[in-house]
Each structure stands twice: as C-alpha cells, then as structure tokens.
C-alpha cells in the first residue's frame, strides 16, 4: 500500500537531515508500528506520508503512485489521529464532528462511534468541558468519521485509563479485520505487542530493525529457561540454555529431585529490544 524508498528530509533551518535514507513498506491490511526515541523522525515520517511535508528526498508511493501525484482527495480515505486534541473547544463534540463531516464525501455513523468510546451521553457538551481522556477518545472518532481505509495514529491510548485504552485497541483491531491499514506510532510497547503485525525501529533517521514482534523477540531473545526451586531452606535460581535443555544433567536433576517454585522460558520484551536497538530508554 505504502512504499517508502530512500526517504530523506531536512527541515529548512537544520544543518543535518532528520530522515537519512528510510526504507520500508506498509502492506495492505496490516498494522505497522513505527517506533523510536523522541526526535528520531517518526513524526516527520508520518507528516511526509500524510502529505504535510512535500519537500522530501527519495520516493514515497501510495497504491503504486507517487504521493505527490495525489491531490486533496487523498484525504478522503485517510484518517489521522493526533496525539494532541484537535477540536474547536467552544463547540460541542457533536458540532465538531458535524463540522468535520461536511468536508468528506463518505461518513461513518458517528453516533455509533461515540457510543462505542463512551462519549454519546456527552455529545452535547462543549469540548472545553471534556477531560483529557475524553478529548483523546474524541480525536479517535474524528480520525474514523470519513470511513478511512488507512489510519495514521499517534499515541492513540496515551492518557487513557485501562478500560478505555482496551476499547480503542479493540476498535483498531476491528478496523484492521475490516480490511483497514494502520500506521501506529507509540511508546507503549504493550500496545505494539498486542496490535502490530510488523514493527520498524528507527534510530538516527533510519530503520534499524523491521520485522514481526515475534521474530524480533526470537532474534534478540536469550533463549533461556529460568528455574526457581527449593534448596534446603533457601530458594535457588538457575538459568539453562533452552536449545540444550534435554541434555542438561543439572536441569534434569532439578526437575526430578527438587521442588520447583517457578519455571519460565526467558523471553525478551519489546521494551528490551527498543533499548537495545535504539540505545535509548523508554520514558512515560
């Protein structure tokens, strides 16, 4: 669906490129995660892909045609979910949605969407009376109001309580099941793990790793088994190589003769991979 080849970009007042030769593809019907530390160029990449930054190097194609060849109709089928609120604060939620709906040819059932995210009862309230979480949920409805086929989402669950975050994640998954494509940017690795078919880690303006979450874990994982067992009065902990587990006399001895408290295959989390690949710890 999207093909990004040799993408470069430099902001007018910068001396160095923010994006330095980015290559990746987003396939039709997948949820693609774009991850990386702040300032690495994720938002810039998204801005280029939604045609907000036209002066880029390299090539970006959408449905086989260069992005530059599309006019404003490009947005008829694109939904963009911003991290920050993007609504007229002195209008009600319903008025905001009605205003933006008029700009599009096709319309989703916004009442149904508001019900789903738990805002239907508050649709008559002015947005400046909304809490941060309510504004974020309204942003998500705004992104879906034109029945898009592609969704660009920036931190869609940040600032939401677990119940509402679950609703948004379910809706993203359902959007994909209905044939939609998603580009997701987030720092919440649980969301990535749960939702993304493939992820790209960005570092220094380039893609440093790109694969499925599972493959990344296998690639960067230690493939160990960690066992906690009772040894006399104390609790002992040992690790064993997963690939030669059956040949390990020490492991077999523990299994046969000791009281095992816990036993886990040691899997690397996406948080660990993020730190390893980008060299930056995740904050907030």
């Amino acid at each position: 669906m999207f093909e990004v080849t040799g993408l470069t970009f430099r902001y007018p007042r910068n001396r160095e490129d923010t994006i330095r030769g980015l290559d990746f593809t987003i396939q039709d019907g997948e949820i693609f995660g774009l991850l990386g530390p702040s300032g690495v160029g994720k938002s810039t990449t998204q801005k280029i892909m939604v045609k907000l930054l036209p002066d880029f190097g390299g090539e970006v194609t959408y449905l086989g045609k260069p992005l530059q060849s599309y006019g404003k109709d490009f947005y008829q089928k694109i939904g963009v979910g911003f991290e920050m609120p993007v609504h007229f604060s002195k209008l009600t939620a319903a008025e905001n949605l009605a205003f933006f709906k008029k700009l599009y040819k096709s319309h989703a059932d916004t009442d149904a969407l508001l019900k789903r995210v738990g805002l239907f009862e508050d649709r008559g309230k002015k947005v400046n009376e909304f809490s941060k979480g309510m504004k974020i949920r309204l942003n998500f409805v705004r992104a879906l109001l034109n029945k898009p086929t592609v969704l660009f989402l920036d931190e869609p669950t940040i600032g939401l309580d677990p119940k509402n975050a679950r609703i948004i994640k379910d809706m993203i998954r359902e959007f994909k099941e209905d044939g939609g494509t998603v580009l997701l940017t987030t720092h919440l690795m649980n969301d990535v793990d749960e939702l993304c078919d493939r992820v790209a880690f960005m570092a220094d303006g380039k893609v440093s790793e790109i694969d499925t979450p599972k493959n990344l874990k296998l690639k960067h994982g230690k493939r160990l088994v960690e066992v906690e067992y009772q040894k006399g009065e104390a609790v002992q902990q040992d690790s064993f190589d997963l690939d030669r587990l059956g040949e390990s006399d020490a492991f077999l001895d523990i299994v046969r003769n000791k009281r095992i408290i816990t036993i886990h295959s040691k899997e690397t989390s996406l948080d660990d991979i993020f730190i390893k690949v980008t060299g930056v710890e995740i904050r907030g």
């Binding site: 939604v50 907000l52 930054l53 404003k72 963009v80 609120p85 609504h87 007229f88 599009y104 920036d154």
Partner: protein, 227 residues
C-alpha cells in the same frame, strides 16, 4: 464566528466607532466616517486574522484541517470572507447611524467596494504578520511597525509636511494611501486615475500576498506541532 464571539467583538468595536461618530460635528462626518472605516478595515482586520490563527493553532484545529480534503485557498478565503463580513457589519451600522442622525453625502456602494478591497489586502497582511509572530504581542508589534512605515509618511503628506513631488509620487505605493484614496472616493472630488490606480494596486498586491500566504500556511500550521 458567533460561538467564538468574533461578530460580537466586532459589534463592540463598532459601538466604540459609533460613539466617536456621535460626538463628531455634522460637518466632520464626511471625514470621520472614512477614517473610522479605515481603522476598522486595516488594524481590526489584522488583529482578527491573528486572533483566529492563534486560536486555531492553540486548539489544534488548524492541523486537523491540514489533513482534510479542503484546499489551503479555501481555508484562507473563508477567513478573509469572515473578516470582510465583520467589516461590512461595521459599515452598515455606522452608515445607518450617520444616515438617520447626521447628514451624509457619501456613496454607500463606493464605501462597500472600498472596504472589500482594503479588507482583502489587510487580511493577507494579517496572515503574513501572524506567520512571523510567536505570539499575540509580536503580532501587535508587527502591526505597529507596518503602520509606522506606511501610515506616518501619508499623514505627513496630508498635513503638508511633505511637499516634494517625487516623494508624493512614491507615496502612491503605500497601501495605506491607496486605502485612504478608495475610502475618500465615496465623497467624490478625487481624480479617476487615482481611484483606479489605488484599486488596481491593492488588488494586484493582494494577489502577490496571497501567493506567499498560501505557500507558508503549512509551515505555520506545523510549527511546534506533532502529528
């Protein structure tokens, strides 16, 4: 415009203009009315564009519109249209007051045409000053600089401090002078070429400004914002 009290704020300013007009002698109305309309279609227009853009930026709606199937020219012309509507509101109220309570011999339609042209030009000036400003105070500073640069020489000419013919000729390039000429033309007594030149000059300058306003809208919308 109603919900954000833009028309209401415009109405309050009109009341202030109305009070000024009320205390003006009948003989001075022909001078005072164009002067009040001049301030309304220049300074108020610039401020209104700035307020609207800063508000939209603060609320993030300008970003939301950037990713909607609406052209930049439509966005800009909608704002200019709103501004001119506010200017027309002022004109109608002041003109009706002057018509009923004072004596007025100015052409309404000439004033209407003048404020549309002046409002268009100064809305575009408002866009460019707002793009450059980091906040409302900087916008006001920019506006003062604009008026000092283009207004004072015109005033000096009016009160006879500038007599050099070449300088007087150069002053025709000041948009403020063109605005004065168009507004004063409603009372008659001006040379036709002056009126035509002023109208053409402001329209041509508006076309040039529109090019830069369109070009820099995205940059303004994206400054200090994530997607």
């Amino acid at each position: 415009m109603l919900r954000y009290h833009i028309l209401g704020a415009g109405f309050v300013v009109t009341i202030i203009w109305l009070l000024v007009l009320h205390f003006t002698e009948v003989i001075g109305v022909a001078t005072m009315l164009p002067l009040l309309l001049f301030f309304d279609t220049t300074s108020m227009t610039i401020i209104l564009i700035g307020v609207t853009l800063f508000f939209e930026k603060q609320e993030g709606t300008i970003r939301s519109l950037q990713v909607s199937p609406i052209n930049r020219s439509e966005q800009i012309l909608a704002k200019i249209g709103g501004n001119i509507l506010s200017n027309v509101q002022t004109l109608v109220i002041l003109y009706l007051y002057a018509w009923f309570f004072k004596e007025i011999e100015l052409s309404f339609f000439a004033l209407l045409a003048a404020i549309v042209i002046i409002g268009l030009f100064h809305s575009l000036v408002g866009f460019l000053l707002t793009y450059r400003a980091r906040g409302f105070t900087e916008l006001l500073m920019g506006m003062f600089i604009y008026f000092f640069a283009f207004m004072l020489p015109v005033v000096f000419e009016q009160i006879g401090l500038i007599e050099n013919e070449m300088v007087k000729g150069i002053l025709y390039l000041a948009p403020t002078k063109a605005a004065f000429i168009l507004l004063n033309a409603s009372g008659g007594g001006l040379k036709t070429w002056e009126i035509l030149f002023s109208a053409f000059y402001l329209l041509a300058a508006s076309a040039v400004l529109l090019h830069f306003v369109l070009k820099r809208l995205n940059e303004f919308a994206l400054k200090e914002s994530g997607v």
